[in-house]
Symmetry: C2
Subunit: 383 residues, 2 copies
DNA sequence: TTCGTTACCGAAAACGTTGCCGATAGTTTA
DNA sequence: TAAACTATCGGCAACGTTTTCGGTAACGAA
């Protein structure tokens, strides 16, 4: 008969199984015991050194180590030096998880964008990274892939990761913003950029969507275009609508009539613009100028026009929105309204971090990053 | 005279200041007291609901809530349903920090790349994101900006963040790998891609650097080129050297002599290739073919050649490494050896995650992602 | 009855840090 | 020469979660 490991008596009786192991009950000391597993293979997980390790080496308390490492004033200079020395010897790295859990902030900002691979967003990211990392913040990036549901999941994942703030440019599909409102109301700092949302009172960074479109179209008109088509974006998207407004305003200013048949909407996907192009070219009176709201659309239309042996800009002048390396390299070089993605990202990150550190409900602001009309030969019809 | 808050006696004597507040010593109960700050403004930080909140609502213990939420078997079905109901009502989100701290893993992988904005790396990132997020992993991205010291900081930051594994493509400057060895030896799963390092026994994902270069150069030779120049990369970088070897092997195979004056090294920075081009054109016998190891170099040389009215490919044929949208759009379209960045990223992420979940020191492997020769008119001299 | 069993659940100890509070030796002041 | 003070340090709770261990009620079997 086994003996009780506590009182030593042999008054053990079986008492069922628990988690696969036989359990006993000792009637003397009235307690339950299980036979402990003797050979617990010490999982040997590689141990990161902690402040407790340092404390043990020096015979001080963890608090003291923490104070030394955080430049507290309540610590002896000699002790601090010793602690720092040992910390270096043991290659101590603070566990940011524990730190964040304790302090209640992670020094991490979340970013939700539709697609990393688009040069515009890659540029924005670079700007965000630059500002964030020089301010001591880490960045966690999620792609929505232009899907509303993915965007919601992204936001949830980031919030669960306890981000200190959120930068977001909405997906094309996104038309409801409850997933943001909730966290915004709970006090999560949020800054919108590019594809903003006006239903929530966040700070925003936008480009000159209206102005840019206006300038591009006006430029076409000045070059003598009379029938200007627009390859517009998704109608749900705010920036699409704004650029569309800019287009109409320019037409109106110069007394050109708006023609519904010269409007084609796309979803920013490859090839979608060609449908519109096709229909325009079939018109009894085809356009003599095309304004593409999305950069990639302009490029693919140019390729198509060249294949059809249509002279650019003689027969049709072409302008695009948003620059790319491609615009200047393609033949003929494309006239664009250049945005500054890096600056957009940097500005948004700066605003967000300000909001995070100031805590105050500082009034939300809206900043517009200036763009720049870059005229190239795809639109130069004079001379 | 103040009364001691513990024994009620008035045997208080002053005992110095501590953190700005007067301190007293009670001779009766022999203890120190300070006057407590009466009005501690309750900071009202917006409270995320925790399992404790849920536990309180239902009058159960936090353990039970945790069990319910983690699909433990040791829980009553009804209790579980109730807990899940309340959790939804309170919009409970698990605090991933606490979870990670407890479990010892973060479900986060770190990525270090030289530059987000290069289409190649953007593509890799997209592949990583895709695989990681569908496996339930988050991704933390750092840019080294081609700087060794930044890369070291990146790695440290990621390790401090307790990442479960690391994907890295080294910076140009990186020639020592101590910052990785340390963590690798401690058991951090690491997978190299693209710019790998052979000093550490990590798993690696590479492209066909040798083969690609070989095929490109062989293609030039088949097109009749006799003097083929190479715009090589940084000599320290392994992939540069490998591509250079491929170049030399192709020359050798076809009995062409290697000419040192036809070699120019760049650091992958804008404009650097033009110096080499200049010197080549000044040669008594200029090259009739150019192989650019870096995509951007090929593009900028093409622009320069066109400006100098040199016919491509008639006078000089041009081929590049690594595709881009630009290659097909530029005039003339550029022959390249196309890499598949998305696949590289996806593969690397898959390997890393396998390594993480298997824990075992599974033998490290090295995978080569097949490339593809894409012949375009920049190199077609026959027809 | 009394033992053996199952099905649950709670308490408490982790995880690594920080910050509040209290304690003490030594020093200065009255 | 006690009182007041300074400079340091240790203890402990807290952050939110998981997990181990032990306890109890209810039920079946001997």
């Amino acid at each position: 008969m086994e003996k009780c490991s506590k009182c030593g008596e042999t008054t053990l009786i079986r008492s069922g199984f628990i988690r696969g192991k036989q359990r006993f009950f000792c009637k003397s000391c009235e307690s339950y015991i299980t036979i402990p597993n003797p050979n617990q293979p010490p999982s040997k997980k590689p141990h990161q050194t902690t402040i407790i390790d340092i404390a043990k080496v020096l015979g001080v308390s963890p608090s003291t180590v923490s104070r030394a490492l955080n430049d507290s004033s309540e610590i002896n200079e000699f002790t601090r030096q010793e602690i720092i020395r040992v910390a270096q010897e043991l290659d101590y790295r603070p566990n940011l998880l524990a730190q964040s859990l304790n302090r209640g902030q992670t020094h991490t900002i979340g970013v939700v964008i539709p697609d990393i691979q688009r040069p515009f967003f890659a540029g924005v990211l670079a700007g965000i990274q630059e500002v964030a990392s020089s301010a001591g913040y880490r960045v966690m990036i999620c792609q929505s892939n232009e899907s509303h549901s993915t965007e919601i999941l992204n936001v949830q994942a980031l919030v669960s990761s306890q981000i200190d703030g959120l930068l977001i440019s909405h997906s094309i599909e996104t038309n409801s913003f409850e997933h943001l409102k909730l966290h915004f109301n709970r006090g999560l700092p949020i800054v919108h950029f590019d594809r903003i949302c006006n239903e929530i009172d966040t700070s925003k960074v936008i480009q000159e969507d209206f102005n840019g479109a206006f300038q591009l179209v006006e430029h076409l008109i000045e070059q003598g275009c009379k029938r200007i088509a627009i390859c517009a974006g998704p109608p749900d998207l705010l920036i699409s609508r704004t650029r569309f407004e800019g287009y109409k305003a320019a037409l109106e200013k110069h007394g050109l009539s708006f023609d519904e048949s010269l409007v084609h909407h796309t979803g920013f996907k490859a090839g979608e613009s060609l449908v519109g192009l096709e229909s325009w070219l079939a018109l009894p009176e085809p356009p003599d100028g095309i304004f593409a709201v999305h950069h990639a659309n302009a490029v693919e239309m140019m390729v198509e026009l060249k294949q059809r042996k249509i002279k650019i800009p003689k027969q049709i002048a072409l302008v695009g929105f948003g620059d790319d390396q491609i615009a200047s390299l393609i033949e003929p070089p494309l006239t664009v309204f250049h945005l500054f993605p890096f600056k957009i990202g940097a500005t948004a990150a700066k605003m967000l971090i300000n909001q995070i550190v100031e805590k105050e409900q500082s009034p939300t602001s809206q900043v517009t990053i200036q763009g720049e009309l870059r005229v190239r030969s795809s639109s130069l019809r004079k001379n």
